[in-house]
């Protein structure tokens, strides 16, 4: 029998190693798996590379991981969200590396990894600092820059509902990066508000099919 639900946060995060690349769902605070991220503090993995749209707010969640010195590098589009004090302090002190990536390029690099592709040519960032040192190519008269796939060892995600097979639905704009991150990581862990019986999610309305999900914890 398949049952991806685990009882506790500690079990959900079991086995995450030092040096992992961790994808964190969310756009600002919305759709961000706060409880899973907070539990990473206790879990202990360090020297992490974090992929997220923003770089943490206030003192909890990603900001807490950064303040604790557990994040070596962040790949994000916009570190200057509300109250980025933990990231700012680490950045100024030279304790964290920043790889700034246009937002659509960030999500497409993950989709590329999920789809087993070796990269893609994008017109975004051509002629800017963010295309520096990247391979350029002209296709049908337009210039493109080669972007490489971005794969996670782990994804920490948030959804509204799950069944024991790992089929997920999200709520409103809390969907954002969660579906692509679920597809782009080797180990995808989701916190959900509610577990439902198999079949209770209309199969026409499954947002993330269970094949992409490994562990579920109810918060």
């Amino acid at each position: 029998m398949i049952n991806k639900q685990v009882a506790e946060l500690a079990a959900a995060l079991d086995g995450i190693k030092d040096g992992s690349t961790v994808l964190l769902g969310g756009f600002g605070a919305v759709g961000q798996p706060d409880e899973l991220i907070d539990a990473m503090l206790e879990q202990g993995a360090t020297d992490l590379t974090v992929v997220a749209n923003n770089a943490g707010t206030g003192t909890r969640g990603l900001a807490g991981l950064i303040a604790a010195g557990r994040v070596r590098k962040i790949i994000c589009s916009y570190p200057r969200s509300d109250d980025p004090r933990a990231f700012d302090a680490a950045y100024k002190a030279g304790r964290i590396e920043l790889e700034l990536t246009p937002q659509g390029t960030l999500s497409e690099r993950m989709r590329c990894a999920a789809a087993g592709l070796g990269g893609f040519y994008s017109p975004v960032a051509v002629g800017t600092q963010l295309a520096r040192d990247k391979e350029m190519r002209e296709i049908d008269g337009r210039r493109y820059v080669l972007e490489r796939p971005l794969k996670g060892d782990v994804a920490l995600l948030k959804a509204q509902r799950a069944d024991r097979w790992g089929n997920l639905t999200y709520r409103k704009s809390a969907r954002n990066f969660n579906p692509v991150m679920a597809m782009a990581a080797g180990l995808s862990i989701v916190q959900v508000k509610e577990m439902v019986e198999l079949g209770a999610i209309d199969p026409e309305c499954v947002h993330t099919p269970g094949i992409f999900i490994d562990r579920i914890v109810v918060i």
Binding site: F27, G28, A29, V30, G31, A55, S77, Y78, P79, R80, S81, D82, F87, D88, Y91, K92, L98, L100, T101, P102, Q103, G104, T105, S107, E108, R111, S122, P123, V124, A125, V126, G127, T128, Q129, L130, Y170, R171, K172, S173, A174, R175, N176, F177, N178, P179, V180, H207
Partner: protein, 222 residues
């Protein structure tokens, strides 16, 4: 000569949005444009975090913590609106499915280069968000900016001093003094506030301006 206020700039930009258009409004001044859409026009506002059909800011008792706009403020959804994930949101942007992107700007060059993502201030880490995607991918990019900096320096320049968001992407510029089109022949002034003339405007602009033959006074009903 009275420069336009920020709401008046937003009002002017709103007049050019056609019925039925799919439009992305940037953070800050462009967001105000939604408040000034002329009666009888139906527009679909896109938000980079996976929304089409963004409505007005909700009343305090209608705020939903799972529903925010690109600026991370509380948002609402119109009947007919849709949610989708980030790849689809940016496929719409990058793939030319958005009719108009209205964006803020630090500077614009005479050939339509846009600089709006970093001032290279060493005290702040840079952030780009969806700006480069929008600048490259929308069918038409229009920008709203104050004509000069607080110190009176021109922001419409021969070349941008700040790092570029994208090259040759801006089609129309709205400032507190004028409306300018970026054309293959250079910058063409379409409208100026009353009391302003081309010499006066040129004195506040580094790039060379031409006055359109059919130029009009920039009038705002607000």
């Amino acid at each position: 000569m009275t420069p336009l206020s920020r709401p008046q700039m937003a009002w002017r930009a709103a007049q050019d949005l056609s019925d039925g258009g799919y439009v992305n409004l940037g953070i800050g001044l462009p967001t105000l444009v939604a408040d000034h859409i002329p009666a009888g026009r139906e527009l679909v506002f896109h938000s980079e975090n996976g929304i089409l059909g963004l409505g007005r800011a909700p009343a305090p008792n209608e705020v939903d913590p799972d529903l925010i706009n690109a600026g991370k403020g509380a948002a609402s959804l119109l009947p007919g609106g849709a949610f989708f994930h980030h790849n689809d949101a940016f496929l719409m942007i990058r793939g030319g499915h958005i009719d108009v992107a209205l964006m803020g700007a630090f500077e614009v060059s005479e050939r339509g280069d846009l600089a709006n993502w970093t001032t290279e201030d060493p005290n702040f880490p840079p952030g780009v968000g969806g700006a480069m995607d929008l600048a490259v991918g929308a069918k038409e990019v229009r920008v709203l900016l104050e004509h000069t900096t607080r110190n009176g320096e021109p922001r419409i320049r021969k070349q941008c001093r700040y790092p570029l968001t994208a090259e040759r992407c801006v089609r129309r510029i709205y400032t507190n003094l004028c409306v300018i089109d970026v054309t293959p022949e250079g910058l063409l002034v379409r409208e100026m506030v009353e009391g302003m003339d081309l010499d006066g405007l040129q004195g506040l602009t580094e790039a060379r301006l031409k006055l359109a033959n059919d130029w009009q006074p920039l009038k705002v009903s607000l």
